[in-house]
Amino acid sequence: MMDTIVKIQRLRKEFGLLTAVDDISFEVKKGEVLGFLGPNGAGKSTTMKMITGFLTPTSGTVSVDGFDITQQPLEVKRRIGYLPEGAPAYPDMTPLSFLNFIGDIRGLSASQKQQRIDDVVSRVNLENVLYQPIETLSKGFKRRVGLAQAILHDPEVLILDEPTDGLDPNQKHEVRSLITQMAEEKVIILSTHILEEVHAVCSRAIIIANGKVLADGTPNELESESVNHNAVTITLKKMDNPSAVREILVSIPNVHKLETLNESEVLSYRLQPKSNLTIVAEVSQMAYEKQWEILGLSVETGQLDEVFRTITTTSNRIN
């Protein structure tokens, strides 16, 4: 069987003079969890609304399994489970009647529906609130009802707009492990502005700002864009002449820049290498030769939030 593919080509959405989404193209395959990263108003939600058929693109195409969203919207909608931003539901219904309604609209047979409802209810832990009106539920439970609704028909494609927004740390963890459990047999696209989430669940991340894709890669690839990628942090026991130490460190081959982190209780420096080279061996060799007392030595992978800030703020300046 062919892998489910969500294919987005030159997608564009204009609201009057504002271009919310500006020529976005990408593909997602089965097994991938794609994280949509971007500042507020970057076009994340707008893109998701176009993929799910709620918004009509100004130009460009969205296809799921080869079905085009404007030509065969129902075929696409059948394959997608969608959690809109804020997890809207019908407040006067109970989670049970709501899920029954969704199951009916999704065309599940009575026995299928019963089985799926049992399954999703236990997956998102809704057992205790099944008979309470949704409007009386806490934010966390409302979000879970939204998730249950999205995965009820076991869709091939799952689109989640800020699935963990407003949840407490335990609930965030639960939702993330739920996503990870389902990742293998689905295409999952989720938006977030929590960068640790990208590490926790995404196999791939796209950074968008002002409606444009600015970066696309695995979380590790994105981190390697960081100036601190492969940087070495060295902490030494306090010595009399810190400036001499600094000079020696800068003189190590391939060290690009030295940043002083602390010189009061200990001597701590971050050394940035030239263009992604590794310098940890050279640094430890030098410390050994000089007989410094090393308190700590670590290699940094780079920080996603720093990459994110660099990428999104430079793009703002260009515009």
Partner: protein, 243 residues
Amino acid sequence: MNTWVLFKRELSSYFATPIAYVFIIIFLFLSGIFTFYIGNFFGRGQADLVPFFNFHPWLYLFLIPALAMRLWAEERKSGSIELLLTLPITATEAVLGKFFAAWAFTAISLVLTFPMWISVNYLGNPDNLVIFASYIGSLLMAGGFLAIGSCMSALTKNQVIAFVVSVVACLGFILAGFPLVLDFFSGWLPHIIVQTISSFSFLTHFQAISKGVIDIRDLIYFASVITFWLFATVIFIEMKKAD
């Protein structure tokens, strides 16, 4: 199929909230007042429900827009429209499901006026065929009002605006047959257009049916009014669903 699923959800949601009970009680209370006090039911000395049905257009003028205003405006406001319209359901199915649920609800309210029919049968020998036709006419007229209200509700996320605009539009459809409106047009519009305007009046057609004659033309009239406004609703939903 999807229309039926949505119909069931919508209809049960009326009864899950106080809307149903408030609406039914007010409807029964007001129709009682209108019939017995203002309509002088006993003083007329006739065994029929004419005073009861005569006030229906005016009762509907306020009650039906109040029922219809939430159809789409509430979905917009709460964001659930995004959920609904990304489910595998077409806008037409959604519009029909909601409309029929609201219409069925008014039918239920109308059925609950049966004590009126029992009283008049107890007191005399009315023409039950005429009464039956009047009920049909009243239900059709309610459908017309609802379709207008559904369209106005689709245009805004503000229920108050939906209500006010619907009342005005419905008033236009009631008054279209009144001299007040026709005189305004007859001065400067050709006779044929003034006639057309007058034929748009809900009152003209409702009163025709209330006489006990269910004329196919009156049925076609209400069917086309409902179809027209629901069609407009579908178009507005498709066009403006995300606004």
